[in-house]
């Protein structure tokens, strides 16, 4: 085992820096543009529309630090992620935000949003009633109407009309970002992927934190470099990671130092975020609404049919994974609901799974014991 990553560090440095120094980036962006920033809580927020209003949408994420400030606001058996997010607001870590928004997904993260509304001074907040029953034919027209109201609200707040041209441009920039991310992910299908799962996570996470135009420019550069990247790092066991919200870079790094590489994911900090583009489905707002209704769903919305299972199996096959780590944010009910079906489908497809329960901090030592045993089992499979 003991694979030393011999990939250069510079290629993904921009993304890493953006992720680590997200507040500095946001403050500098405001300084440079003189415009507003909105924090959103879940990837169902229609970033294109916010961006078209001249506002920078950034995702609110936790810090992975133990905290003691949310107990009065959120019940202890709500997921640690929603509590961690709220803690960031209460501690003033997102003091550069002018507004916050959420598109209805799970009630845990909604609680973080409503507590933030109440207890963190903020100029603007908007709750978008994103439909749950996305498999209904009425979902897209419903959301399109809601987007009209959201648009009007943003216009009133900024005092500026959102033009059709601005929407078209925002959609184009966001679609471009997704296409570039796909291209990088495509490279992970090969025998020796020129990037690690940790780098992929840094890349997608940072896209939720910075202006997509800056991100697109960085992605173009990375794509040019990746084709020439000296990939002497042994790939080891090809893994997939899937489950709840996950920005635990340290965990990915630990697994990849044990003789494995994550080649694909199903996370809202990964493929679920960028898999689907806005395509023409009628007028502008309908097209945006349709994208969010038809995107790879979060388990909060994936019913009565479980469409995500099929999608995950397809990814596992296309990226040729030997095993999958199913990570479960503690108390994340929607994913708990899906995991038995997902685990069974993966098993039937010949992909073994390792289930791990994540908290704000991850017990790296305990998890390493499990991960190493999992990899040893998969490597033994190869011999037979």
């Amino acid at each position: 085992m003991g694979n030393q990553a011999v990939l250069d560090r510079e290629t993904f440095e921009t993304f890493r820096n953006w992720r680590v120094n997200r507040a500095e980036y946001a403050k500098a962006w405001k300084e440079r543009t003189g415009r507003k920033i909105i924090g959103y809580f879940c990837t169902y927020a229609p970033e294109e529309l916010i961006y078209a209003a001249g506002i920078l949408p950034v995702r609110i994420l936790g810090s992975h630090e133990v905290q003691d400030v949310t107990e009065p606001h959120i019940f202890a058996m709500f997921c640690p992620f929603c509590r961690d997010c709220l803690a960031q607001g209460l501690k003033g870590r997102f003091d550069y935000l002018d507004g916050i928004t959420i598109a209805q997904s799970c009630l845990h993260i909604r609680q973080a949003f409503t507590s933030w509304q109440k207890h963190v001074p903020i100029d603007y907040s908007y709750y978008l009633p994103m439909p749950h029953h996305v498999q209904s034919a009425r979902a897209t027209p419903f959301l399109a109407k809601e987007l009209e109201l959201f648009k009007a609200s943003l216009e009133e707040w900024t005092g500026k009309k959102i033009t059709d041209d601005a929407i078209d441009e925002a959609v184009e920039i966001h679609n471009r970002n997704r296409e570039l991310l796909w291209k990088v992910y495509e490279l992970r299908k090969g025998d020796s992927p020129p990037l690690t799962g940790e780098e992929a996570m840094e890349m997608v996470l940072s896209s939720q934190m910075v202006d997509k135009q800056d991100h697109n420019a960085a992605l173009e550069k990375v794509l040019a470099r990746l084709s020439k990247r000296d990939s002497t790092r042994p790939t080891g066991t090809r893994l997939m990671i899937l489950g709840s919200e996950d920005d635990d870079v340290e965990f990915i790094n630990m697994v990849e130092s044990c003789g494995a590489t994550f080649v694909v994911d199903d996370h809202c900090t990964g493929t679920r975020y960028f898999w689907n583009n806005v395509e023409s489905a009628g007028d502008r707002l309908t097209s945006i609404a349709d994208r969010y209704v038809k995107r790879v769903p979060c388990p909060t919305k994936d019913w009565p049919d479980r469409t995500r299972v099929e999608h995950v199996i397809k990814l596992a096959k296309e990226y040729d994974v030997a095993g999958a780590i199913v990570m479960q944010q503690k108390f994340c009910d929607p994913h708990e609901l899906d995991n038995p079906a997902l685990t069974k489908a993966l098993k039937d497809a010949g992909v073994k799974t390792l289930f791990l329960e994540f908290d704000v901090t991850v017990p790296i030592g305990q998890f390493k014991v499990r991960v190493e045993a999992f990899l040893e089992m998969l490597q033994d499979d190869d011999l037979f």
């Binding site: 017990p363 014991v369 190493e372 045993a373 040893e376 089992m377 033994d380 037979f384």
Partner: protein, 254 residues
């Protein structure tokens, strides 16, 4: 070929010296704070038990949670792999290994060659591990070795629901205040450990024969709880705490 297997656990270090699949010598030393010294002591003990000198040992493999720090070898296998190998060596018909140590419980399914097919760990919960039984024995003022025999005198199941070691202790105290016979409380404690372990076993599924290994397998009250819960016989080897080290010694010969 003479080989050695070293199992550096959370609480004790176990060493087995083996030749041609046969155990020649064994040594067990509490891990304490200085694992390196404890490992060397256990190794020396096992060599003395086998009547062999160090230079006769052709290969050493380490396993267990402290295996990375083993100064005697840099070859290692995971505790899951070692338990499967060791168990099938001890009982060739074994297909499910339940390994309950001081800090962790594990279920491993394996094939006839001792290869791991699937496994599960107890999830960060003391109630499925030896330390839990030890803490509850303290609350009952019973030496740990006597907790099992005491529980066997009980005629009646008593429910204990807490899954947290601290809250479980307060349940024990409540039972003491309610004048519950000590043997019934002892059984309640061990049934609770068995129940946590069994729910993990059901997660991976089990196939005959089932072997229970690790230090907690030495507790007859726990084993009774396992049999009742699984509604089947389980096999306990003579010295269940050495099975991981046996597996490591076998790996060293490969």
């Amino acid at each position: 070929m003479i080989t050695a297997g070293i199992d550096i656990g959370a609480k004790t270090v176990k060493v087995v010296v083996a030749g041609d699949g046969k155990v020649l010598g064994k040594g067990l030393v509490p891990a304490g704070l200085d694992t390196t010294a404890a490992t060397e002591q256990a190794f020396d003990k096992a060599l003395a038990d086998a009547g062999l000198s160090k230079d006769k040992v052709g290969g050493i493999v380490a396993t267990g949670t402290g295996r990375k720090d083993c100064t005697l070898t840099d070859r290692e296998i995971t505790e899951v792999g070692a338990a499967a190998k060791g168990a099938v060596q001890v009982l060739p018909s074994c297909r499910t290994v339940i390994d309950v140590g001081a800090e962790e419980g594990r279920t491993i399914r394996c094939n006839g060659a001792g290869k791991v097919i699937d496994f599960a760990f107890n999830e960060k919960c003391a109630a499925g591990a030896g330390t839990f039984a030890e803490g509850m024995a303290r609350a009952l003022q019973v030496p740990l070795e006597e907790l099992g025999p005491l529980s066997l005198k009980s005629k009646k199941a008593t429910q204990m629901n807490a899954q947290c070691a601290v809250f479980a202790e307060s349940e024990v105290v409540t039972l003491i205040h309610a004048k519950t016979p000590r043997e019934d409380i002892a059984r309640a404690v061990l049934d609770a450990v068995a129940s946590r372990i069994i729910s993990m076993v059901r997660k991976v599924g089990f196939e005959k024969d089932v072997m229970v290994i690790g230090g907690v397998a030495l507790n007859p009250g726990f084993i009774e709880g396992m049999k009742r819960g699984l509604e089947m016989e389980v096999f306990v080897p003579e010295e269940p705490e050495y099975v991981g080290a046996i597996g490591a010694a076998l790996a060293a010969a490969e």
